[in-house]
């Protein structure tokens, strides 16, 4: 993989992020409701409103407002969360860290469970085990997350089997085992949802690759079954899986609103919901931008990983 390729992907990511930031800012600008009005309440006088608007720069042209905002963001200043009256950055970092812990555990588990399952199912195609794997993973993906989460709570946090806490959060720095037990159920829910994705992708790609000419030729060169499967087939079969994994990481970071809601887990997904319901525009801008950043970064890393396993990617 050439440095030019890395640089290209990186520049591509920056351009994407720039576009996203404009879109986010523009959308929050055209949302109904006046920011000054939100702060001062509905009984504010016109004079007070105008004064605050001037003070906050709400009457400036779009590009100037955007410039001020993005300049701040680039310097680590996301502004003030209006609804909580505190700086956004520390709040954001705390929530991001929590979501990241959830996402990291989930993605690692999904990877180490789903890929071997997919390979196994592909190698024993149409066998009973394959069918069981297929059906159960389908069940996992078809039940909505809130249902899966609630069922898990009933099963493992209910009165019968009180193994794990049903909700809440304990920092890892405080009490490791407590913290761990708090994320078991949310992680389990996410894994159940995502396993089918990765498993199906790996299985179908593996079946496709196992029928390819180069796998046949590897076999006919007298290589052992293990070499054929793990050296020649798997590496090729994993390429599309990497892309799907990256998309799933994005999903985990940004869209786990429901899970965090069910388990009352203080992650970034809940923060977005909070920002929307309390009409906290600066907080909304900051959280959405953060999720977009994570998404882009993960895809950038996936591109690099893809370039590593696929020698045909070679930008000159």
């Amino acid at each position: 993989m050439s440095p030019v390729y890395i640089l290209k992907r990186f520049c591509f990511m920056l351009v994407t992020l720039f576009c996203i930031s404009i879109i986010i800012f523009a959308i929050t600008m055209v949302l109904p409701g006046n920011l000054a009005q939100v702060i001062l309440g509905e009984f504010a006088t016109d004079d007070a409103l105008r004064a605050l608007e001037d003070q906050m720069g709400l009457n400036l042209p779009f590009y100037e407002q955007y410039g001020k905002w993005i300049w701040g963001v680039l310097h680590g200043d996301f502004g003030h969360a209006l609804s909580m009256d505190q700086p956004i950055l520390p709040l954001l970092l705390f929530r991001l860290k929590n979501s990241a812990i959830l996402a990291a555990f989930s993605i690692v588990l999904v990877t180490i469970i789903a890929i071997p399952l997919g390979v196994f199912a592909a190698l024993h195609r149409n066998s009973a085990v394959d069918r069981i794997i297929q059906v159960s993973s389908y069940v996992g993906i078809s039940i909505p997350e809130f249902a899966t989460g609630s069922l898990l709570i009933i099963a493992f946090a209910g009165p019968v089997l009180n193994l794990f806490p049903s909700a809440g959060y304990v920092p890892f720095s405080e009490n490791f085992s407590e913290a761990l037990s708090h994320i078991v159920l949310p992680v389990m829910t996410l894994v159940i949802v995502l396993i089918a994705h990765i498993m199906r992708q790996t299985r179908s790609e593996m079946i496709h690759v196992m029928q390819s000419d180069y796998v046949r030729s590897a076999r006919l060169r007298g290589l052992s079954n293990r070499m054929v499967v793990f050296k020649h087939a798997l590496r090729n079969a994993l390429m599309p899986t990497i892309t799907v994994l990256a998309l799933d990481v994005g999903y985990l970071i940004g869209s786990v609103v429901v899970i965090e809601e069910v388990f009352a887990y203080p992650g970034i997904g809940r923060l977005i919901v909070y920002a929307v319901t309390s009409r906290d525009v600066p907080l909304l801008q900051a959280t959405v931008l953060t999720v977009a950043c994570v998404y882009c970064l993960v895809n950038f890393l996936a591109d690099l990983a893809y370039g590593l396993v696929n020698p045909r990617i070679r930008y000159q």
């Binding site: 390819s212 180069y214 006919l220 007298g222 052992s224 070499m227 020649h232 396993v309 045909r312």
Partner: protein, 687 residues
């Protein structure tokens, strides 16, 4: 007689499919002896590849060996364990596949894939394996083996790749190499390099070769003995000489006659065998060939023919499975009726139907960065300054290696690819950038693979009625149906086919549908882009005959694009030879096949393997690879591979096309010098 190495003894193989049990191979017995080259020939679907894979102990999941034994050095490999099979494949039998592009794993370097087999089987160190791989690449004359070892498969050419698979197969010093149509995916000029290499390897080592092919030219060149397989059963076997001179089975005789080759008489239509391979699920009780056989009798369709031994001149066993072996057959075909229309008739110098002037098609592939930095645009010069004209009712053949731009030329004329520069005149009118319904009606194209050009979800009725409706030819439903039937009649397909889908048809029949679709609108000009390349030899002749009949009926002009010189010679009145985006020679078929030749044309002509010339004739090997059209050589494009003496102008000045009697050559050498060239084919072949 050398001892037998591989013995296939009464082997039957079947596949389980949804529609029933397919009898892919039926009671085949044959043997490959030490050091010999045994060619197994047959149409696609005849079971020859299945047999070859079975000889390596490899069958698809749904296949099984029903009876018989496969002995390798006396041991029955059908009883081999997994580990024994691995050893057999890794050490004793090598294999070369049909498509070199897909046979190598794209993720690993050539070196890695060369070495892994011997590291695994012979437990040697990497360093030692590397030494051996390098030595092998050197032995088969691969330039710069060190750097090749470090490259990935996508970074080397197809011909190079196929040479490397030979190296791979030879690396473990096997006793036998099985080759499954190894040159089918290669150009003639690359094919000849490959065959040379094979001859060299055979002279150096005592390796036996089981060569699977449908190309008689290669069989004539390489094989010691030949086996012919039809519908899963061996029908005839004998020495090469016997098989070519005195074939006894009607199928072999037909096969020998259906080869559309250089020495075929151009005044008569090519012979094409009637009928199709039988359905291998429900085979008739008797001889499988009986329904297509012109001398079949009652006993043929009731009893399986027993083996007959026929005395041969050279003492090599000649076996035939036929009730009527040796019955002389008549393969007389109708004389070709020359087009008596505007072309070739009295008023020969009528207006050209289509004229192409200085046509250029460049593909720009500048990246975003290039544009930002205002780099000069990077181009692939696919078609560069090509001019020619086609008369009404005439066929112009375009030949050249793959990547020379011949298909792009066809597309640029049809505006499927917008021309960069130059003009295309149709009946004197500039149509280079014009798009109109009436033009689509008069200009049509037929593609190489009917599998991808016919929509698999549509019935023939839908496929054929589309152009009729689109161009408002059919007036109502009844008329539409009548016209569709007439189209089927025109391409000799049964009317019952109208509501079938393409997948229910054979390859040749599908191509007939594609032809019918093109002719539905009565075009006056048709581009035929490699229309026979995807078809079996026994079908190719019938497609060419059909095209010729249609041409006579409708006065259609063809641009017949192909890499198959034999096919081009058969159908074309004039031939254009293309190299790297430019025309190097244009002339009537007779002119092109006789001196003066362009050096490139001569190399192409001499690369053709001819079945009926017993000794391989002297072929010119072109050095190196065809340069990239993105970075063509300066001056004459062919100069980097030219074997004639070169002057200074060759590398600086692009040669202009010089015409004499309508024969054009683009070469810096003097006409007289080129004229003094030795002919590739004896005069008796060409008349």
């Amino acid at each position: 007689m050398a001892e037998p190495l591989l013995q296939i003894d009464d082997v039957s193989i079947s596949f389980k499919t949804v529609s029933g049990k397919v009898q892919a191979v039926r009671h085949v017995s044959l043997e490959v002896r030490r050091g010999e080259c045994y060619a197994l020939i047959g149409e696609s679907g005849s079971g020859k590849s299945t047999l070859a894979f079975a000889a390596m102990g490899y069958l698809p999941e749904n296949g099984s060996i029903e009876s018989g034994r496969i002995l390798f050095k006396g041991e029955d490999i059908t009883r081999y364990s997994h580990a024994q099979l691995e050893k057999l494949r890794g050490k004793h039998v090598g294999m070369v596949f049909q498509n070199p592009d897909t046979a190598a794993n794209p993720c690993y370097t050539i070196g890695e894939q060369l070495m892994e087999g011997i590291i695994y089987h012979e437990k040697i160190s990497r360093v030692e394996a590397e030494k051996r791989a390098l030595a092998m690449l050197e032995a088969i004359n691969i330039p710069d083996p060190k750097s090749i070892m470090q490259r990935y498969p996508h970074q080397i050419s197809g011909g190079q790749k196929q040479r490397i698979t030979i190296a791979q197969a030879l690396l473990s010093h096997p006793d036998l190499i099985i080759m499954d149509e190894p040159t089918t995916a290669l150009d003639v000029t690359t094919e000849i390099q490959f065959l040379r290499l094979l001859e060299e390897v055979r002279s150096r080592t005592n390796v036996a070769i089981l060569y699977i092919t449908h190309d008689m030219g290669i069989v004539a060149r390489l094989a010691d003995r030949v086996g012919v397989i039809y519908a899963g059963a061996l029908v005839e076997e004998g020495s090469r000489e016997t098989m070519f001179r005195h074939p006894a089975h009607p199928y072999t005789q037909g096969l020998m006659h259906s080869i559309s080759s250089i020495e075929a008489d151009r005044k008569h239509k090519g012979y094409s065998m009637p009928g199709l391979l039988p359905n291998l699920i429900s085979l008739p009780p008797g001889c499988a060939f009986a329904p297509r056989c012109s001398v079949a009798e009652d006993c043929c369709s009731s009893a399986l023919p027993a083996v007959q031994l026929i005395p041969s001149e050279d003492g090599v066993e000649h076996r035939v499975f036929c009730h009527r072996a040796g019955t002389p057959l008549s393969f007389a075909t109708d004389a070709v009726e020359e087009c008596v229309g505007r072309y070739g008739g009295e008023n020969q110098c009528s207006e050209p139907l289509l004229e192409v002037r200085n046509l250029k098609k460049y593909y720009e592939h500048s990246t975003f960065m290039d544009r930002m930095l205002r780099h000069k645009p990077r181009c692939v010069y696919a078609v560069d300054d090509v001019s020619f004209s086609i008369m009404p009712g005439e066929t112009l053949g375009v030949v050249g290696e793959s990547g020379c731009g011949k298909s792009t030329l066809g597309k640029a004329i049809l505006r499927l690819a917008e021309a960069t520069d130059g003009t295309v005149l149709y009946r004197g009118e500039d149509i280079t950038h014009k798009h109109s319904q009436s033009l689509c009606k008069s200009i049509q194209i037929i593609f190489q693979s009917p599998d991808s050009s016919l929509n698999p979800r549509h019935s023939l009725y839908t496929i054929l009625s589309r152009p009729l409706l689109l161009h408002g030819i059919a007036t109502d439903r009844a008329d539409l149906e009548k016209r569709c039937y007439r189209l089927l009649d025109m391409v000799s397909l049964p009317r019952t086919y109208l509501h079938r889908k393409p997948h229910q048809l054979s390859g040749g029949e599908k191509q007939r549908v594609a032809i019918a679709r093109a002719f539905a609108v009565h075009p006056s000009f048709v581009v035929c882009d490699e229309v026979t390349s995807a078809l079996d030899v026994s079908v190719q002749a019938s497609i060419i005959n059909l095209l010729r009949d249609l041409q006579r009926e409708f006065q259609t002009s063809y641009l017949f694009i192909s890499h198959d010189l034999s096919a081009v010679r058969e159908i074309s009145q004039r031939i254009a030879v293309m190299y790297l985006g430019r025309l190097v020679e244009v002339g009537s078929t007779d002119q092109v096949f006789r001196p003066p030749y362009h050096p490139y044309t001569k190399a192409l002509l001499s690369s053709i393997s001819l079945p009926c010339i017993p000794q391989p004739h002297k072929s010119i090997l072109l050095e190196g690879q065809i340069p990239s059209p993105a970075n063509p050589p300066s001056g004459c494009r062919f100069r980097t591979r030219c074997y004639r003496k070169q002057c200074e102008a060759c590398s600086t000045v692009t040669p202009d096309m010089v015409f004499r009697d309508g024969h054009g050559l683009a070469c810096h050498l003097d006409w007289s010098e080129l004229e003094a060239d030795t002919p590739v084919f004896p005069e008796s072949f060409l008349s």
